[in-house]
């Protein structure tokens, strides 16, 4: 019984860590622009796909990883430069639709050039599961969790301690004022997209050994990432982690104890309940504007 519970928990943590990593990317772009980037999932896909294809082509794993992250980051920069920047001061919904367009374009390009097959990436530390109190955990899960933690801590430092990080936050909350204190808001957006695309790619690469990757994995990862980010509170790195893990665990517990058919619906029931009581998500900041 305990081992079962523990196994569900591991399953939830594994999946949850993936969601968390996806959510961090959302949070980052949201922090810089107030936009939910629907193309975030495609960066995840690009990372995983590039790495898998490079490895298949004989490139050593570490190099393949580095190149894949670069590919995704470049895609992020291009999307920002060609689609977000020209849209300039448009309303948020407009930008959101643009990111949907970008997402379709990237997915379509991957479909055309990388094909529709599924691809695997070798696990970083072997395929032998760790057995803990009768439950098993893949070493790759630890990679995912560890990297997620490191990324969130690093981002916490970036936003909390560095001037550039503050500049990113300032840009999202008041672009005009940001310009007036000398922040290069175009560069900030570029940075945010590049960085979150790179982060997305890291996520995509880390999970590829467990989940496989194909041109259309971005849809699901993107959606779950958005959900996790909103659950935890947009713009909060810690919230992204908690949101992601919570999402993963609720899914696993629902599948384990209630009904696997409704495991994807249950998190949303939970989210609706949470949002009714905490309209800013778990760790989101309250709006502070006064009248």
């Amino acid at each position: 019984m305990l081992s079962e519970l523990l196994q569900f928990l591991f399953s939830g943590l594994t999946v949850g860590a993936m969601y968390a990593l996806a959510a961090v990317g959302f949070s980052l772009i949201y922090s810089a622009s107030g936009v939910i980037n629907f193309a975030q999932g495609e960066f995840i896909m690009l990372g995983g796909m590039s790495a898998a294809l490079l490895v298949q082509a004989g490139v050593p794993l570490p190099l393949a990883i580095a190149l894949a992250v670069l590919v995704a980051a470049a895609a992020g920069l291009i999307v920002e430069k060609l689609a977000i920047e020209p849209a300039g001061n448009s309303e948020v919904v407009t930008l959101v639709i643009i990111t949907i367009g970008a997402s379709l374009t990237l997915r379509g390009l991957a479909e055309v050039f990388l094909g529709k097959g599924n691809h695997a990436l070798p696990a970083f530390s072997g395929e032998d599961p760790l057995v803990i109190f009768g439950a098993t955990l893949m070493p790759q899960s630890l990679w995912v969790m560890g990297v997620t933690l490191v990324v969130v801590l690093a981002l916490g430092l970036f936003f909390g301690r560095t001037t550039l990080g503050k500049g990113v936050l300032a840009t999202s909350c008041n672009k005009l004022a940001a310009q007036l204190v000398g922040i290069n808001t175009r560069f900030i957006l570029l940075l945010a997209f590049g960085l979150s695309a790179a982060l997305g790619a890291v996520g995509g690469i880390l999970v590829a050994p467990m989940t496989y990757t194909s041109y259309d994995v971005g849809i699901m990862m993107g959606l779950k990432g958005f959900v996790a980010a909103a659950l935890g509170g947009l713009g909060s790195g810690f919230g992204a982690i908690v949101g992601g893990l919570l999402l993963g665990i609720v899914e696993a517990m629902t599948a384990g104890y209630i009904s696997s058919a409704y495991k994807d619906a249950m998190p949303f029931v939970l989210i609706l309940l949470i949002l009714f009581f905490l309209p800013q998500g778990l760790f989101g900041k309250k709006a502070t504007d006064r009248v």
Binding site: G115, N118, M138, K263
Partner: protein, 358 residues
């Protein structure tokens, strides 16, 4: 001469792209091939195809376009059962012969005048698996199906025929087509008292994840998959974990291993070779269904001696012992699929390769 227009509505993108993509490639390739060898009835073939993005509503719209606007002579497609059922009423009304590439039994039961299909039904896949289980003395089976048209149709049929083989389904779990971890479901299955085997019904990467998770959890039960994973990709993705997995499959994956006496040997070998050369990709059994569809259609046209829709339909219904990738087709007024259970081969994965059982 006027080209013969073959219409196709396929799910080339979206969740069912795994099926629709090789189907389209196959049709394109064989239309080229046929045209090179002089076409059919001395007329070239022209393929008019649309991608329904795996949405039945769109399939319906595109079918209307094929019928009303493109005025096609024949329609192939409906990658999914949903799309097929959305198209069926249109072809019935417009009286256009139609071959579906989807698996559900309802497509041909009861037989509709203008609707035919090439793949084995999901029911046959379930029956084939249960038959194998019965022989091995496995009676308490856990079902794990994908939350997609393919998986749910399979689940329904498996539930329907289990009793016939003396099998009790002791667990009924599902997973999403893009799920990344199925250990929760498998843990639950593992804990079901007396469970003797696990039957997975799904497509693409999901069953591979299940297989890996199966190994991760150290479950020692026999694992059965459906024909949805009958492709080399599955073995590649699941790796060592796939060892010992059994599944029903058309002959295609074991083309090279078929005995020379096998009537299908030539057909499937040729198809596999041509596909691999033309597209630099692994042939897929789903592409095979499209091949069968196109070949049945053109064969019927030849026999009818015209593209008159009614005559082609009648000829199609009269198809006898037409050997294609899925098996030998014997259509009749009541059977618009024409395959028997024996068309499915039981395969097992041994040493990272397919082995033909019995």
């Amino acid at each position: 001469a006027d080209p013969i227009r073959i219409g196709a509505v396929l799910s080339v993108t979206g969740p069912a792209a795994y099926l629709g993509d090789p189907e389209l490639k196959t049709l394109q390739m064989y239309v080229e091939t046929l045209n090179k060898s002089g076409g059919v009835l001395g007329r070239p073939l022209e393929l008019v195809h649309y991608d329904d993005g795996s949405e039945a509503g769109k399939a319906n719209g595109f079918a209307k376009r094929l019928i009303e606007n493109d005025k096609v002579d024949f329609i192939i497609g409906g990658t999914t059962s949903g799309a097929t059922m959305a198209i069926a009423p249109l072809v019935e009304r417009a009286q256009v012969p139609f071959i579906s590439l989807a698996g559900a039994v309802v497509i041909v039961e009861p037989a509709k005048k203008w609707v035919f299909k090439t793949p084995h039904t999901d029911r046959m896949a379930a029956e084939r698996v249960f038959d194998d289980m019965k022989k091995a003395g496995l009676t308490k089976v856990a079902l794990l199906s994908e939350n997609s048209g393919f998986g749910q149709s399979g689940r329904k049929e498996a539930q329907a025929v289990a009793a016939k083989y003396g099998i009790t389904l002791v667990a009924d779990e599902t997973y999403g087509p893009k799920d990344t971890d199925m250990t929760a479901q498998l843990t639950k299955i593992k804990g079901v008292p007396g469970v003797q085997a696990v039957f997975v019904f799904g497509l693409g990467q999901g069953p591979a994840v299940v297989t890996k998770n199966f190994a991760q959890l150290g479950i020692k039960l026999p694992l059965y998959q459906s024909h949805g994973v009958a492709s080399d990709e599955y073995i590649r993705l699941a790796g060592a974990a796939a060892e010992g997995v059994r599944l029903p499959s058309p002959a295609l994956p074991v083309a090279a291993k078929l005995p020379a006496t096998d009537p299908q040997k030539k057909v499937v070998s040729d198809y596999a070779k041509l596909f691999a050369e033309r597209w630099k990709a692994e042939p897929s059994t789903f592409g095979g269904y499209a091949y069968d569809g196109l070949m049945l259609a053109t064969d019927a046209m030849r026999r009818a001696g015209s593209t008159d829709k009614g005559k082609v339909r009648d000829a199609l219904e009269a198809t006898t012992n037409f050997v294609a990738t899925s098996g030998a087709f014997n259509m009749s007024a009541s059977d618009h699929m024409g395959l028997s259970l024996s068309a499915f081969r039981m395969l097992e994965i041994r040493n990272g390769d397919w082995t033909l059982l019995n």
